[in-house]
Amino acid sequence: MVLALLAALSLAQGDYAPGRAGTEPLDAAREARVQALGKQLRCPVCQGTSIADSPSSIARAQLDKVRELVAEGKTDDEIFAYFVARYGDFALLSPRKEGVTSLLWLMPGLMLIFGVLIIVLQVKKKPKTAAPAAAPAAAPADDPFLEAVRKDLKQ
């Protein structure tokens, strides 16, 4: 089991085809948008890598498409819609916050809130028996004498 290798494999399996150079980057501000959008879109031949990160030629062709759409002045939503219309929700690396999928976004937060509530309630709750049942009557838990006797008994 070689973790990360599988991912790497699928990265590499995307035909790397050296020779295809891709379109030239736009000006800094718009190119930053291209890269940010690319981060949100799934590379079709990789395992969960974005088209901005994948070196495969098909991902780079898709990034060129994003660049083209940005150059045409399309908004982010329009560009996402373009890809969803062709490839479905699968193309979005960040799932939409609607329907059942919103659970994905809400559940971790809810878990944290419930966890804090449980901890606070547990701490507030007074213990049922005042004295811990397991501790023998007088000896404090860290009595070195008792420890030494216990240790000897175990041997």
């Binding site: 089991m1 973790l3 790397y16 070196p55």
Partner: protein, 677 residues
């Protein structure tokens, strides 16, 4: 010959493990403690046969014995010797076999180190570990058998191991580290289930339980970081962590084990949280099995593909069995573990550790949810969606900041209940440290950002710097304060630090690890949000500006090595002060062409400097025109993620150091000092 011998050894191992499991659990439950030597012999038998089986396989690989199926699958006459040995774990069957050897080593170490321990503790624990070993021995003997005969005619050469394995030296050490981390979780699982079966969690369990978790935790930490380093140095996309299912698979057990290591402190000191702590140990083990399943069964290619894999269904059954056994044990035996104290306030050391546990569990859950969600929707609704890096980043960043915050506040709070006034007073210096960290970063990057030398950064990153400063001050204080108390005439400061560390090694080591984590967090924040990216196609002699550096393209070169051919771009990195560093003749970014692999494998150029890396990958080239396209980045501080490995390891080793035996009488540290531990 090799195949028969190897398979025989595996069967012997299976027999020993099954015998050990049956005898250990049965005599443990019926409290016949005289049977312990038999369980120990079974463990030694399992260990010896598994390690020998691996040696036989390495021998077969080295001798290119293609009559063994696995050798025919991954061997090749042209592969360098070192990669021939590494190919032991380059494919499914071999890696499960290797897994068996590590399992053998762990079980041997545990059984041998605790050989004088009373049967009442050991039989059940060893029995449960043997039960896990039985499963893996069964996998090797059956569904993932590497020894099968090669169909005739027996080839004279093989395809060689996966090209990516041969691409970088890190691939030699990264997988064994992860295996050592994953397999090692079997030991705390055995101890914890043994304790539950026995129905008592005596003081004698506590230290071994913690230490035997810290060992695999350390390997897992190193393995994960090395894996990210490997991805960074080899894959060429400029990142080191993509929240890929295989990465998540290694991260989840690490998170659970980290939570566990923290909650053992409450367990050891307050004798409470017993059930919760054991649940974390069982959870960490369960997640290693789930992680192995996720990476090895092909389930992420498609939900429906795993049934076609050799080990998918077997693993799924084992996952279900482990889960059911764990839940049943916790439910039936848990009530026997009585908490001996009650937590008085959340505003205390134990409260902060409990919150730490909650936050770690929340992150584990988030990663688990995000990783498995696409599988669930595909299986239930037949709808394919993706949950990728953007989701994990959005969810994990706030949780990581929360962790940093708790890492600072926790060590500051006393056990029991904190006094708000004292706490506020103690907060002043760390808070100043946090502000200072942000100001220092601002000053260091002032002007540089606007000149395009660094990215503009995010609020989250700045918060991370602030919190890192806050934690660093608190941790340094906790590391050095006890030493100051020990300083007297005749002891220098360094001697006092060593003495305070040897008096409370766990505490000292823990804070050293914290320092390492702070460094990693800062490196992650800086490299991800202050990076600069540029890309373009260059003709020879042209340059690409990235941040304050220039990348000059000096033309293409190519060459041949025994197992591959390559084409590389000769580059010169021009520093802002005019210094030039040339990478020519294959040292630049390149494409490697392996025999019998159609697609080339790229490898980037990482120009490593102390405070930043200049990273260039070759995207494409045109041999006719001599032009090439590049992606280039400047990543501030990125190397510190891996430079922190020695700090983490050193901290763990200090923590594992056995404390001087506390004898009754003068040599025992006074309770007040011991309490600080």
């Amino acid at each position: 010959m090799n195949a028969t011998l190897g398979y025989g050894l595996v069967l012997l191992g299976l027999l020993c493990a099954a015998f050990g499991a049956l005898v250990g659990i049965f005599t443990g439950m019926t409290r016949r403690e005289g049977a312990l030597p038999w369980v120990q012999r079974a463990v030694y038998g399992f260990s010896a046969s598994m390690i020998l089986a691996n040696l036989v396989m390495i021998g077969a690989l080295l001798k290119h014995d293609y009559s063994v199926k696995y050798v025919a699958q991954v061997g090749s006459n042209s592969t360098p010797t070192i990669f021939t040995i590494v190919s032991l774990w380059s494919s499914l069957e071999g890696s499960i076999l290797f897994w068996g050897a590590i399992m053998g080593a762990y079980l041997f170490a545990f059984a041998f180190i605790h050989r004088h321990e009373h049967g009442r503790y050991m039989q059940l624990s060893l029995g449960m570990m043997c039960a896990v070993a039985t499963f893996f021995a069964f996998l090797i003997a059956g569904p993932a058998n590497p020894w099968g005969p090669t169909p005739n005619p027996i080839p004279t050469d093989g395809p060689g191991p996966n090209a990516l394995l041969q691409n970088h030296v890190l691939m030699i050490i990264h997988p064994p580290m992860l295996y050592l981390g994953f397999v090692g979780m079997t030991v705390p699982f055995g101890i914890a289930t043994g304790a539950l079966l026995r129905g008592e969690l005596g003081d004698a369990w506590l230290v071994p339980l913690r230490k035997w978790t810290l060992v695999p935790w350390t390997f897992l930490s190193v393995g994960i970081i090395l894996g990210s380093w490997w991805a960074y140095a080899v894959l060429g996309w400029g990142g080191y962590w993509a929240w890929d299912p295989v990465e998540n698979a290694s991260f989840m057990p690490w998170l659970a084990a980290t939570a566990f290591i923290h909650s053992t402190m409450v367990l050891e000191r307050k004798k409470s949280l017993k059930l919760w702590t054991l649940a974390l140990a069982l959870g960490a083990f369960w997640l290693t099995i789930v992680g192995t399943f996720m990476t090895r069964s092909g389930v992420f290619n498609s939900v429906h593909s795993f049934t076609q894999s050799d080990i998918g269904p077997t693993f799924l059954v084992f996952i279900a069995v482990v889960m059911l056994v764990s839940i049943a044990l916790l439910a039936l035996r848990g009530p026997l573990l009585v908490a001996e104290t009650h937590m008085e306030s959340v505003f205390s050391r134990e409260g902060s550790i409990l919150l730490n546990n909650l936050v770690f569990c929340a992150l584990t859950f988030t990663v688990f949810l995000g990783t498995t969600y696409p599988l669930i929707t595909e299986a239930l609704a037949n709808k394919r969606i993706s949950v990728g890096e953007p989701y994990f980043n959005i969810m994990a960043l706030p949780i990581a900041l929360l962790m940093l915050f708790l890492m600072g506040v926790g060590p500051m709070l006393p056990w029991g209940e904190a006094n708000p006034k004292t706490t506020l007073r103690q907060l002043a210096a760390p808070a100043a440290g946090g502000v200072l960290a942000v100001v220092a970063w601002k000053l260091a990057t002032l002007g540089a950002s606007s000149a395009g030398e660094y990215g503009s950064g995010t609020v989250m990153a700045v918060m991370a710097f602030g919190l890192a400063g806050f934690v660093a001050v608190i941790t340094t204080r906790e590391l050095l304060l006890p030493a100051r108390a020990l300083m007297g005439p005749g002891t220098n400061f360094f001697g006092a630090v060593v003495r305070s560390a040897s008096r409370a090694p766990r505490r000292f080591g823990g804070y050293v690890v914290h320092m390492g984590i702070v460094i990693i967090m800062v490196a992650i924040a800086a490299s991800s949000s202050f990076k600069v990216h540029a890309s373009g196609t260059l003709k020879p002699g042209e340059t690409l500006q990235v941040g304050a550096y220039q990348v000059r393209f000096d033309g293409l070169s190519s060459g041949t090595e025994p197992h591959r051919k390559w084409t590389s771009a000769n580059l010169t990195i021009v520093h802002p002060d005019g210094k030039e560093v040339a990478y020519a003749g294959g040292h630049g970014p390149r494409m490697n062409y392996y025999e019998r692999q159609t697609d080339p494998v790229g490898s980037p150029l990482v120009h490593e400097l102390v405070w930043r890396d200049v990273y260039v990958s070759l995207l494409a080239y045109d041999a006719k025109e001599g032009s090439a396209s590049f992606n280039a980045w400047v990543f501030p501080l990125v190397g510190w993620i891996w430079y922190a490995i020695p700090i983490l390891v050193a901290g763990s080793l200090i923590s594992l150091w056995p404390r001087r035996r506390q004898l009754l009488g003068g040599t025992a540290p006074a309770p007040a000092e011991a309490a600080k531990a």
